[in-house]
């Protein structure tokens, strides 16, 4: 059977529906099967990426109805890049959490693997679907799984974080639903390509309203400033792998939604300036709030929000190289922040009162985890020769080419703040006298492998970025060129070389 984008969706669903049955054979299947699915996702991504590199786009129609009438899944270099990133991360996260008895008692609650898997599937669906309402449905899948994973632990705070997330998340879905409704009345279709084709018919005021509703809706998922109150709680309360998945996968889906809406659907110029302003505010406030955190995961959450702000700034600059830089930053943030969350949750688990203050000199007991965390924090603040440096450099260069000197200064000032709080943790890890710990829980070998792979990726990309830059350039070009997208989706035979 030839591999097509729909496999991203049906294979995990088959697994999800079948797991309760087949795991009557052996309990372990609850944990193994999601891993197999994740690995299959990687295979799909590999095959599809090869194809995308040959023909510019891949589009698959569902139920045999041509694009404007049926739902179509479309893989552009942009979405393909994100999807393959997500697939690899998903597999690594699974590898990390496999047999992670201490932190996630999968034996106790069997559905963890299923929900994690379906959350990732939902994120992939958001990215590859070509239909706006279908996107909404996948958003809901992500939201529900994310909420129930956030409140997964039995403790009292999990439920609280989950409820906040649910409250704000249902706002998001309501906004998107309303926007889809108004949009449908104006253009009479739900297919994104056709919407952007007919967008010029929409009167200005209504267009602005729709855009605002979409911005609020997706901005909640993408952690824009006033909308991201749920994020720190959710990140800090979710199980470690789930936090990694939030930072690496779910946020990416939200950003993708925002970017797809602004770049492909709408033709409003003000949106770009808005992105810059919103991103700047988000970044500054988040990074400032991160400094005095005592819960490591919460600190990482704020830092993740700040990075998302930086991504939005880069997208808002809007030139080809800026978009390229933004993609690079998304890639970096995905791998680095996942690494940080993976290591950080282990560190937090081993600290006595679950705060940064009590991880003095834990490096003696957990050498590998500490080194990985150090690598991650060096990379995220953008020190060469780690991969974070390049994305920061490209963003600054893009800003400089548009003579935005103040923006550059702001970004760099904020990264000094970043250095302050990350290096505070690193120096605590290594160079403080070690206080006594509760019995140290050492991560199993597969977790170490997962984290090691991420760290090696960080270093390799940092030393030789050309491994991905060419591809990212291609993706950026394709994102900016929306006429070919429309043409390709609406009459399926055109193929952009």
């Amino acid at each position: 059977m030839v591999i097509t984008p729909i496999h991203y969706i049906i294979v995990p669903l088959i697994a999800a529906f079948a797991i309760p049955l087949i795991s009557k054979i052996h309990k372990e299947l609850y944990r193994i099967v999601p891993g197999i699915v994740m690995f299959y996702n990687i295979i799909i991504s590999f095959v599809l990426m090869k194809e995308v590199n040959e023909v510019g786009y891949i589009s698959e129609i569902i139920a045999g109805w041509e694009a404007p009438w049926g739902i179509n899944l479309i893989i552009t270099p942009f979405s393909g890049f994100l999807v393959s990133l997500i697939s690899v991360l998903g597999f690594l996260i699974w590898l990390y959490q496999y047999r992670f008895k201490k932190v996630i008692d999968v034996g106790e609650i069997k559905s963890y693997g299923i929900m994690q898997m379906l959350m990732i599937t939902g994120a992939i669906g958001i990215i590859i679907t070509g239909d706006i309402f279908n996107l909404f449905v996948f958003m809901e899948i992500v939201a529900i799984t994310a909420v129930s994973l956030t409140s997964f632990y039995r403790g009292r705070d999990g439920a609280e974080a989950g409820f906040k997330y649910l409250l704000i998340g249902s706002f998001a879905s309501a906004m998107v639903l309303l926007a889809i409704l108004i949009l449908y009345t104006q253009v009479g279709t739900l297919n994104m390509a056709e919407i952007s084709e007919r967008m010029h018919l929409v009167p200005q005021g209504i267009k602005a309203t729709i855009l605002i509703l979409f911005i609020v809706g997706f901005g909640i998922e993408a952690e824009l400033f006033p909308l991201n109150g749920w994020a720190p709680d959710a990140y800090s309360q979710a199980p470690g792998p789930t936090s990694a998945a939030f930072a690496g996968i779910v946020v990416k889906a939200g950003i993708y939604g925002l970017i797809r809406i602004i770049f492909t659907l709408f033709d409003i110029d003000g949106a770009f300036d808005f992105l810059i302003i919103a991103g700047l505010v988000t970044m500054i406030i988040a990074e400032f709030s991160a400094v005095k955190q005592t819960n490591l995961k919460r600190m990482l959450a704020y830092s993740s929000i700040g990075q998302m702000g930086l991504v939005l700034i880069a997208f808002g600059i809007g030139t080809k190289e800026a978009v390229f830089a933004a993609l690079f930053l998304m890639f970096n943030h995905a791998i680095i922040k996942s690494l940080l969350f993976m290591t950080g949750s282990i560190l937090m688990y081993n600290s006595k009162d679950k705060t940064i203050l009590s991880i003095h000199g834990i490096a003696k007991k957990l050498p590998y985890v500490s080194i990985l965390f150090a690598i991650g924090s060096f990379a995220i603040v953008g020190l060469p020769p780690f991969s974070g440096f390049w994305s920061k450099l490209y963003i600054l260069t893009a800003a400089a080419n548009k003579e935005m000197i103040l923006l550059i200064i702001a970004i760099l000032a904020v990264s000094i703040v970043e250095i302050v709080y990350y290096f505070r943790v690193v120096s605590k890890l290594y160079f403080a006298e070690d206080t006594e710990h509760i019995e140290i829980f050492k991560p199993s070998i597969n977790s170490l492998i997962a984290m090691g792979v991420l760290a090696i990726t960080i270093i390799v990309i940092g030393v030789y970025p050309d491994l991905i830059t060419g591809y990212l350039h291609n993706a950026a070009d394709m994102l900016l060129d929306k006429t070919s997208y429309i043409k390709f989706v609406l009459n399926n035979n055109v193929q952009i070389q």
Partner: protein, 131 residues
Amino acid sequence: MQEEFNEIFLKYHEIITLGVYGTAIGLMLIGLYAILTKKNLVKIVIGLSIFDAGIHLLFVGIGYVKGGTAPIFSPGYENAGNRMVDPVPQALVLTAIVIGFAVTAVALSLVIRLYKHHNTAKIDQIKSLKW
């Protein structure tokens, strides 16, 4: 009854417009009010469901076509396609309703757990995670 509705529609167009849109927007605003001011978690969830109900009504409302019939080709109406209401919003709202129910259920189970832990369902007393 539906036939009556269709013919009186032409007469009282404004009133019915107000009746549908106004009701829908009113529902949304009432729901928002509950979400934003009520302290009790159950009340907040009620507000959410009312808000959703308003959006659903809007959906069906914009799908309505003057003098249209339900989009079902029942025997004898095989070629009535031109005087049917827009079926797409109805299909969408079908999905939306079910999803809304799922969200409500999850929210309520969270409320139950919060009450277990905090022994209260007041949202302003449940803030152990902050700053």
